[in-house]
Symmetry: C2
Subunit: 213 residues, 2 copies
């Protein structure tokens, strides 16, 4: 399979770094072709703004959605966005790995979706190309996430609410919305307080999941 | 009241710009003191990274949560963060206005939470200072949001799911988590397709809500 691995953690020496390295080795051994978008390493520009569009449809009033459609039609999106779009188009599976910050993804990854998942490429609202007719239909996508809080806190009756509910903003409102099929999310709870042994167990568990892709 | 208005839209000539201007005039007339954090206008740095910390606790391995606690204790967070922290501390009410992108906030606003809501200032996990004991207790907070999709799509049985559920990641998992009391969210559905008259009605509705604060 062609796998795009979108990774958003600032510290290579972290448990997230270990998860990512585990994935690289495991996916490589299995014979997959892997491309990595290491957002912190490439200093990914997180903010969607006018600079994303090299040829504006409307230079007077900036409407992000309209400029995205125009930008994809004319090939005038900025080069960093076009490169990611090519990778997404190439991939059979996209894995998004990140730490849960404020029950959601870090800004640098949110900015990847804001900028790369442009209308006209992933969906087309006016043509009704969403969900079953989403333009990324046929691709799979997976969330790999670490949390500071415990499994109990993120359980259906827990103080933070059910993490599956929170992640559905990604798995349903992004993945399924653009036509991708979500694989079960891989979640490591309480990552900040793990012992080395617990960490090793989680890495083994991740390896086993990747081997069954 | 002291009101901090955190605003995240790139285009002043947009409906979001009109909502913000309506708020400025209305809140001013009512005698409130208002400070605005116009994130696009100040080119807010969205990405939490090592540059946020002028004096690292651990220069070898970057742990964002630990560095934030250390940074707030030593006053060594970067100046743009410290300025926002002072504004939050000053405010009785914080209003967050943004367009809903991917069922969530734009990256530039997510990065405001990632960087400004530092542990040791808004919560302290080890001391159990969260929710009822959150460090921002006594303050109020409000979401003001525009959506591209219709009210029906964001209803409990709609294709995108209940928007109240999505916004609870902000109103519960952020506002309530840090001890703030959420006010009812102000939502404008289908903002992209409104006529001028519909827009005026929504601005009047917003004015009426602000007058009752």
């Amino acid at each position: 399979m062609n796998i795009l691995y979108v990774y958003a953690h600032p510290e290579p020496r972290s448990f997230n770094g270990a998860l990512k390295d585990t994935a690289m080795v495991t996916l490589g051994k299995l014979g997959h072709t892997v491309k990595v978008s290491n957002l912190y390493a490439v200093r990914w520009k997180a903010v969607l703004d006018t600079q994303d569009f090299r040829m504006r449809q409307d230079p007077y009033q900036f409407n992000p959605a309209l400029e995205q459609i125009h930008g994809i039609q004319t090939g005038s999106l900025s080069p960093d966005i076009l490169e990611e779009i090519e990778r997404v188009a190439w991939a059979d599976l996209i894995i998004f790995q990140f730490p849960l910050w404020w029950s959601s993804m870090p800004a640098i990854l949110k900015g990847w979706f804001d900028r790369v998942f442009v209308q006209g490429f992933v969906v087309h609202l006016e043509k009704g190309q969403v969900y079953e007719r989403g333009l990324l239909k046929g691709k799979k996508a997976m969330v790999v996430v670490t949390t500071g809080a415990t499994r109990e806190m993120y359980s259906p009756g827990g103080v933070h609410g059910d993490i599956r509910n929170h992640l559905s903003l990604i798995t349903h409102n992004i993945f399924e919305f653009v036509g991708m099929t979500p694989l079960p999310s891989f979640i490591v709870f309480g990552a900040a307080d793990m012992t080395r042994d617990e960490g090793s167990l989680q890495l083994n568990r991740y390896r086993a999941v990747l081997e069954k892709l």
